[in-house]
């Protein structure tokens, strides 16, 4: 978990081929997946209400003829683009066009399938839709991997995607979908829980960085502390998250009762406090461990030079050691943030709120669209956090090279 994460993919894999048209091996796999989504699976499900099983519809049944055939032609063209060895840009555009068309089509299908005036009927994406999304997301991922875009461009792509999704949400073209009907029924709660989720994930990360960085520096300087601290934190990681959340209820309830002012700060046995503390404890190990690894990796020459020019210990720490260790420390921050966003869903089990509320309510009611309402934003948040931090890590790991070259 504390291993150094690598984002760059420095592989030149495509020796200049001849004039012959050549198939792309990965394209063949993508084409098979996409074709199975088109031929053997259904596109949307029409359910009489939010819990009952529904009728599955193929693309041509779920959309009016013009839209159905239009979508089919577009998807087949995109599959062809995947199949042959062409420029990654063409593949990326084909993938983006297909994903956008699928997103628009599923919203359109919802309006088309729902009988007029029926407020109970629900339309959800079916397996074929998800298979197609997976296939073209794979194509997009492959194209992006081959393009090796610089960090800023990756963040730009993320922003474009986010704006696209936001536009779809605001335009109301998805409003007929079951997941959006679940949202419409609890819009206020959704944003409260979203706030709690982000507070839990970011707040605990912030607290862990505040404690973990000095602790890591201390462990680096005082070698007798190192093994003890790291082993203890390792032990904390082995306690399953549900249990740690639960175990903390006891002590925090005691604190709330016996420490004056604690209850006023919102510290309670159940709720956000134990979740926050648990996430904080889980976050410590990667931060402390990577700080130690990062500082240990600072070249001896850099330290000697700094000492030679008369830097004090503190100057050396902030101007030499810390900047050089930054990429490794940022890697820990990435691991912790992604992990916290995922784990914050479990906080719902102890009344801590967050997107997990919808996931567990949905499981309880066997209403899968409610589960999606909790799961989709969680995955999106974690994914966005990973992309942004990967970009940051890559930008920062170039600084030392630039300095040494100057």
């Amino acid at each position: 978990m504390t291993e150094v994460f690598q984002a760059g993919l420095p592989f030149g894999l495509f020796p200049g081929g001849g004039l012959k048209i050549r198939f792309d091996k990965l394209g063949i796999v993508i084409a098979i997946i996409a074709a199975s989504g088109l031929v053997f699976s259904t596109f949307a499900v029409l359910k009489p209400n939010r819990i009952l099983q529904g009728q599955a519809k193929t693309i041509l049944e779920a959309l009016p003829a013009w839209a159905g055939y239009g979508l089919l032609i577009l998807l087949i063209a995109a599959i062809a683009a995947a199949l042959f060895r062409t420029s990654p840009w063409i593949k990326l555009i084909a993938a983006a066009a297909s994903l956008t068309a699928l997103a628009l089509a599923i919203g359109y299908a919802a309006g088309f399938l729902t009988p007029a005036g029926n407020t109970y009927a629900r339309v959800s994406p079916a397996s074929g839709f998800w298979i197609l999304i997976f296939a073209f997301a794979l194509l997009a991922a492959d194209a992006l991997t081959r393009l090796q875009p610089p960090p800023w461009m990756r963040v730009l792509f993320l922003c474009i995607t986010a704006i696209g999704i936001a536009a779809l949400l605001f335009s109301g073209s998805w409003n007929g979908l079951s997941i959006m009907k679940e949202y419409a029924g609890r819009a206020d709660v959704f944003w409260t829980e979203a706030g709690k989720h982000v507070t839990l994930a970011l707040g605990s990360l912030f607290a862990a960085a505040l404690v973990g960085l000095p602790l890591g520096i201390l462990c680096h300087r005082v070698s007798s502390l190192r093994a003890g601290v790291l082993n203890t934190l390792n032990l904390v990681q082995t306690i399953p998250s549900i249990a740690l959340f639960g175990i903390l209820i006891g002590p925090l309830a005691w604190v709330a009762l016996n420490v004056p002012g604690a209850a006023a700060l919102g510290i309670r046995g159940i709720g956000m406090a134990p979740a926050f503390v648990a996430l904080f404890l889980y976050s410590l190990l990667p931060i402390v461990a990577n700080t130690v690894v990062g500082l240990a990796g600072v070249p001896r020459e850099a330290n000697d030079a700094a000492r030679g020019i008369g830097m004090t210990d503190r100057q050396r720490l902030f101007q030499v050691e810390f900047p050089l260790a930054l990429p490794v420390i940022l890697t820990a921050i990435r691991i912790v943030l992604v992990q916290n966003i995922g784990m914050a869903t479990i906080a719902a089990l102890i009344g801590g709120g967050g997107f997990g509320v919808f996931v567990f309510q949905g499981i309880g009611q066997t209403a899968m669209d409610l589960v999606l309402l909790g799961a989709v934003p969680t995955v999106a948040l974690a994914f966005a956090a990973a992309v942004v931090l990967d970009a940051l890590i890559e930008m920062n790991s170039r600084v030392p090279n630039g300095v040494s070259a100057a």
């Binding site: 894999l13 991997t145 399953p240 249990a243 639960g246 175990i247 995922g342 089990l349 799961a375």
Partner: protein, 247 residues
Amino acid sequence: MKAWLPTILRGLLFVVLVAFLLSPTTFEPVLKPLVDTNAPAIYNQGSLLDLTLQHLSTVFIATLVAIVVAILLAILVTRPFGAEFLPLSRSLVNIGQTFPPVAVLALAVPAVGFGEKPTLIALFLYGLLPIFENTLTALTNLPRSVMEAARGSGMTNFQRLMKVELPLSLPIIVAGIRLSVTIGLATATIGSTVAARTLGEVIIAGLQSNNLAFILQGGLIVGALAVLIYDGLSAVEKMLTRRLGIA
């Protein structure tokens, strides 16, 4: 000077764990102060030993499948035939790790129903990633001189893979397996939210009836299992490294 201390402590942990599982009621006085006077202190809705064995077998099956699939995939993308898949497979591993376990569990339910199956799927997926990543790292960072020597001695590709590449990679692969088992043991507890029979059942029963003793015993059993298995696999890894004579 105290090199034997950790071993003794682990031995003790193992003995206590086995004793607790075989005869939980002996430990009742220890846990009694944590609960209200009339609440049960020891999980009473099923045998702890059964749940533990069920928990372990779920993790074991999922990890076993993950080991086979992950190693085969890593071998495939490091051969010339699969080289085209290598960059993408790395990106996919990164993307895969951003999916929260709860989401995977919950989303597997509509496809396969409640119970053991969604848990097995989630554990398999999470188990896959660390093993694949480590195998890939090991296979792509083999010492060049050794590879040259193997090629020079006239070994076929298959012989090289079986006699040189995989044995040299084994310690790092075992480290990946260790990581994935540890994650799996903890993730399996979440499986109880979709009705899988694991030790998570004990913890969730504790959360629902506000019984700290239940939460503690469920959590500590899983924690103890994780520590013991983690240490066991670390020992295997050290032994393999020593046998290979590499640092």
